[in-house]
Symmetry: C2
Subunit: 177 residues, 2 copies
DNA sequence: CCTATGCATTCACCTAGGTTAACAAATACA
DNA sequence: TGTATTTGTTAACCTAGGTGAATGCATAGG
């Protein structure tokens, strides 16, 4: 595969276009050697498991998305995030060895700000939106995913139970007739 | 005032160390000319007002913090965030004219990633923590703020009502005796 | 000094969403 | 193909936290 430009050429390990089977775990909680992945085909997700053993999906990464633990990276701490494949996928591992030159930084800065922006929005959403509004939001962000991942995972992403999501969808279908 | 290093020297408008009175609104929803502020003394906050007219505090910015709307900046959109002063404060406005050179980007990248990391953590917290756990978290992040801002603002930051916070604090005091 | 406004607390409710469980449908797998 | 596991749905209950209102205190401004 050929890369679009020099930036990507440098950031990704050439030739490391891995194919991973559905269910493969690429990173687990506690890992210290943090990895980031760019998805070229398929679907990854990252999630945490809380103190009560419950899974919370932090993000989905379909084609053209990047997953990784910025928090662990910034603070040089072991990660809390698991990353696994929800579908057979084709991914590029981001090269951890590449030195961040000034030139790379400028391009990376834009991406980092964009990522922060997305997160800011998600925080505002989580603070003020009802379950139903969150569902709408999910559909906006991932328009092609709502019939591609199981409902219980959507629920986990929204921070509600699968039953609540089912209830909401039922009410919606009924009200709209 | 003297700046610590060249980066700050460039980023902040020299001589623009403004003093603002408690209550001053520095930015409002809908503003298109987005501003960021570094707080050298006092306390700012940023918040949104949702569809139902309810205030949600997005962040506090005591001494040495920076506030601004990354989301609006990244997407070149009018902001949803208000920024105002909770105390008489001394602030530096970040120069919007400064051109981001490669060298600046490298230093900015670290800050941006750190900001994203903080937000990532907040998202995980909002998805999995109870009101009480959030309160603990608030105290960790802003140890000097919990008797400096009114409870109702802490509640707004946590995403709960002042009554709920009062109830929780009451139970805690009682249980611990 | 008096009055007004804002804040914290408490109480009696209400409600969105969680929990548990049963069952049906879909999917995986042997 | 048949069996087992995973999913989605529904329903009966439970609970954390919201709402609204009353009360007491503190602070601000005249």
């Amino acid at each position: 595969m050929l890369y679009k430009n020099n930036l990507e050429n440098m950031l990704f390990e050439k030739g490391l276009s891995k194919t991973v089977k559905k269910g493969t775990i690429l990173q687990r909680e506690g890992d210290t050697q943090l990895k980031s992945f760019a998805v070229t085909k398929g679907l990854l997700r990252s999630y945490i498991i809380d103190a009560k053993g419950k899974e919370h999906i932090f993000m989905f990464a379909p084609e053209d998305w990047i997953v990784g633990d910025l928090y662990g990276k910034a603070l040089k701490q072991p990660t809390r995030l698991f990353i696994d494949a929800l579908e057979d996928s084709e991914i590029l591992e981001i090269n951890p060895e590449v030195e961040i030159t000034n030139e790379l930084a400028l391009k990376g800065l834009e991406k980092a700000i964009r990522r922060a922006a997305m997160l800011q929005n998600r925080v505002l959403m989580l603070m003020s939106a009802t379950a139903w509004e969150r569902y709408q939001y999910f559909i906006e962000i991932y328009p092609d995913l709502y019939n591609r991942v199981p409902q219980k995972m959507i629920a986990s992403y929204l921070g509600i139970t699968p039953q609540a999501l089912s209830r909401i969808r039922g009410e919606w279908a009924r009200s709209k007739k």
